[in-house]
Assembly symmetry: D2
Homo-oligomer: 142 residues x 4
Amino acid sequence: MYVFKTKKRVRYAETDKMGYLYYGHYAKYYEIGRVEALRDLGLSYQKMEDDYGIMLPVLSLESRFKMPAYYDEELEIVTQLKELPSKMITFHHQIINPKGVIINTAIVKLFFVDMKSNKRVETPAHLAEKLHPYFKSTNKST
Amino acid sequence: MYVFKTKKRVRYAETDKMGYLYYGHYAKYYEIGRVEALRDLGLSYQKMEDDYGIMLPVLSLESRFKMPAYYDEELEIVTQLKELPSKMITFHHQIINPKGVIINTAIVKLFFVDMKSNKRVETPAHLAEKLHPYFKSTNKST
Amino acid sequence: MYVFKTKKRVRYAETDKMGYLYYGHYAKYYEIGRVEALRDLGLSYQKMEDDYGIMLPVLSLESRFKMPAYYDEELEIVTQLKELPSKMITFHHQIINPKGVIINTAIVKLFFVDMKSNKRVETPAHLAEKLHPYFKSTNKST
Amino acid sequence: MYVFKTKKRVRYAETDKMGYLYYGHYAKYYEIGRVEALRDLGLSYQKMEDDYGIMLPVLSLESRFKMPAYYDEELEIVTQLKELPSKMITFHHQIINPKGVIINTAIVKLFFVDMKSNKRVETPAHLAEKLHPYFKSTNKST
């Protein structure tokens, strides 16, 4: 399993009339979670598109809102990969508020598309390589 | 069952580097769907907050992205209530592109909160009344 | 002079903690104003990019916020071209609330870029043609 | 004069079809600049609203776009106060890309509103105090 944590503060731009972080903005928090997780692995999503010609459209999003997030709170975004990606990559997220409460959980599934052929492809080798070390023990037990 | 349809055009502001409607913006389309559905029923969400002191935070969001939406496409937002709300209200959405293809489906669950007590409450009477006619036959058949 | 009017409702997604339309979202209203103005002239911005290879980056934005806009208000976006475009096109906007009050004014300047050469170009002929009739009398008086 | 610098990365959510940071999103960068500048001074905008009952609506925004910003670039937001605020506070911003190029400049004017009376007020004392040390020499020369 691979876990990565990063932080983002709730901005005025993201609040709504209720004083909450608007439910539509969480998608951006998940984006930050997965992109920074890839960067932490030594991978740049920008390079994946520009150098490898691979893009990752989102297939599905499931999000549960347990508690609101408020203006100026610095939220922790926890991003987990629970299994090696294949034709699809699944990110599990938790959003944690400054009091340590999990206020939101989400599962975001993306797939790999070759930008030239516009067709779905397997996990790019350079990503698979980076992830392998985190899943070795799991493979043994299977 | 209650069904309502409205339209919204994809704006430049909503596109991303891939040329797609960014996945985080669909939440706004669902918002438009449910608010305009309520308005069609003779209810104003603004009045629900300001006059009745009831707000509707989102509990969960499930979204499946089947095909991308592109800049300037006028998308149809189909909003369905498949059952009468109780402590929760469940909206089913379909987003349909100009070619008639269902590009996205979503289920959004919200609950009712009394803004004074900050506690969850049952469906407000004025909303239940408006919805009853659409579900009468269903009740009989059950 | 060419004037065009269109409407857009303030969505929850666009409100902030103060209950106002967030100041950053007005840029989207100006976008809607200028794109719908072009469409009214028989021009599609989408076609301008895709068929003519011309894009219009924004050069400058000046915006004055006179009064707040609130949730669910249907705002009128007035878009004016006060002179024929040359190397630049200047849109003048007024945002008017349901009470008829001008709550915001803006000037947005854009320029024309040939997407192949990535260089600035003059107003495309097909746009100039559409606009000429609205400025004929002005030419005479000069 | 008071100067503060902070950074923000361009997210996919903020790019548009041209691959640029959408012009409407710069307003959020200015927000981050001014809020983090206040925090650096030992002031919290959140507390200004919640504890002091003062809010700062935006009066005007002037923005010049010199060069585009691209996906994943970490932009530096430079925020300057060139004079002590009175009934109004004026923030000067520069957005600088990773190559050190100033790609955008802006002037944002805000005013102080007492949330109880809903009336404009002078600069709150606790803000004036924090800023005075940075402007002492200027006072001498006047």
